[in-house]
Symmetry: C2
Subunit: 376 residues, 2 copies
Amino acid sequence: VELSGERFRVVYHLRGTPAEARERALELCNEQTVEFPGDLLGRFDPAVATEVVGRLEALAPLDPGRHAATVSFATETVGGPDLPQLLNVLFGNTSLKPGVRVEQIELSDGMLSTLHGPRLGRQGLRELLGVQGRPLLCSALKPMGLSAAELAQIAGRLALGGIDLIKDDHGLANQPFCPFDERVQRCAAAVAEANARTGGHTLYFPNVTAPADRLVERARRARELGAGGLLVAPALVGPDSVRRLADDDLIGLPIMAHPALLGSYLVAPDQGLSCRVLLGQLMRLAGADAVIFPHHGGRFSFTPQDCREIAEGATCAMGPLRPLLPVPAGGINLARVPELCAFYGDEVILLIGGDLHRGPDLVASCRAFREKVERR
Amino acid sequence: VELSGERFRVVYHLRGTPAEARERALELCNEQTVEFPGDLLGRFDPAVATEVVGRLEALAPLDPGRHAATVSFATETVGGPDLPQLLNVLFGNTSLKPGVRVEQIELSDGMLSTLHGPRLGRQGLRELLGVQGRPLLCSALKPMGLSAAELAQIAGRLALGGIDLIKDDHGLANQPFCPFDERVQRCAAAVAEANARTGGHTLYFPNVTAPADRLVERARRARELGAGGLLVAPALVGPDSVRRLADDDLIGLPIMAHPALLGSYLVAPDQGLSCRVLLGQLMRLAGADAVIFPHHGGRFSFTPQDCREIAEGATCAMGPLRPLLPVPAGGINLARVPELCAFYGDEVILLIGGDLHRGPDLVASCRAFREKVERR
């Protein structure tokens, strides 16, 4: 087998003693590639064992009982721009073994040049919104159970109040009480009307998460109906389907990724994928311009370290791939805005959902949110 | 909001004291639907709080510190045949919280009537193979790094030896050293040639896991090139993309699902999804006719209980949905065949990969495998 010698690198954290960690790392090198008894590889072309099998480049102790293994893989194991196969080589079978976590990835320049990443990225999104130099404001249309007309009324008030990005709650799909087309048309119209009154550039991101044979159609339809971006849940549609939307010139809209069903990769500290990789690096590979996640201290269990990792993964060097914007959310309220601004700096989208509805007037709550951000 | 009253039920296992479990269960009812402060729901149509929010139907203690909560959801929260949205209502946001596991699902008759499930199911697959009344035999084409011609030679020998189902290793994608079209054409031809010699009906299942815009094309191409079935990894392409393949009359082939990247939902005992739900019930909803998983005692960490649950989920009552066949795998060897036959009974596909290559002659190893199954 002829290989170019170009390789990409993955850092795994492994539970166990030094000897166990070494054994598990070598096992992983085999499991993620040839998945074949090592003692029988001698009967094939020697390059299978030396080049195709992952290569343990380094093994370093972390805390007692935990090691960092750096493994390199030939880029040909992925073979072209193929995000599903990249995920498979990263963690496919090994996801089934406890005590292994993908901590960081470093793709080769060749691989990065074949994936487009975010269509707009954080700068492009800011240009669309005409907002520089401050955190962006986001809110969600909810609760599920309202009609399209009721949600449109909320959308209009959020836009009047100065919210930059208004997204569907990720639970709004195509329910009989709020069909997709009607919702998108009405909400986009309400936001456009508010923009005309305020002179603002609020964008509406409907949720296009949908059955596999409807996804592209729904995203294109969203654009026709006046959407300014798309919300999609990568775990529900498959991460490469997000990339498919991002690459589609007939859609051409910014994409906000929602973490629904991704949690199981993240909630156990010593297995799955790190927040940096899953919500930062992989979301950029999938073409998301912004990624929602639960900020620490809300309804969920993310740690400050998880949140920092996402912000790092959103901007770390990845060849020509644009940075994305982190969207901390998950039960944060107006009182926490200064804290979030301090934590993330200006390159962030702050998402407050339910709490904006707490006061007597939604428009006033949005203005208070906006003021808090401007006075940060 | 007008709702039919039709509801589906989900059993969650929750960590915590009785009071904590109740609080978490009620939180989940809100989180999975309206995702809105409960104290503010009063301003909307009362049916939002009483019908749209999930309903805690029962809470029963399990072990100390663990409870089973039965929650019902209005079928309209999913709204039509929409597997991504079903997954979202089941576990979308709650996946981000530790200590919650989806244990069992019981869909309404209405929902089950809109999803087709496995196209062939276990009986249809047996009819294609012409094999009744014994476990089916499966092996994998590997290792990654061989050429299409080399893999085809292995495929021919596996078929000559009497293997019923020959699948690509799930790491075979469209690598430059083994392009998809060439591999499928050569391997299908080698299997057909062996069938002609033996009078057998061995089927070849190439791996069609692919980028989102190539998946359907690759599956249709596989059929044209002589494939007898498809291998696909639901977590890599999105579970509804498997359903899309299963429902496609231009493909019409049996589907074997591979668990790559699904492990993080399964490896922690008190979070994620149960094996019954994820590898049994959900794989049937996605239209898989067979599902691969690591049998206990191999290279992975599944327990006997996990394996039993998969076998149960593969056949439990789910309206008109056909049963699927469990495919225990993951480093099992010839010596364990009698044990596996005793564990699963006859309704199983036994998958042995690398171990068949251990002896001097692959055809002889396959025959030994077949004999062990026939003498079970």
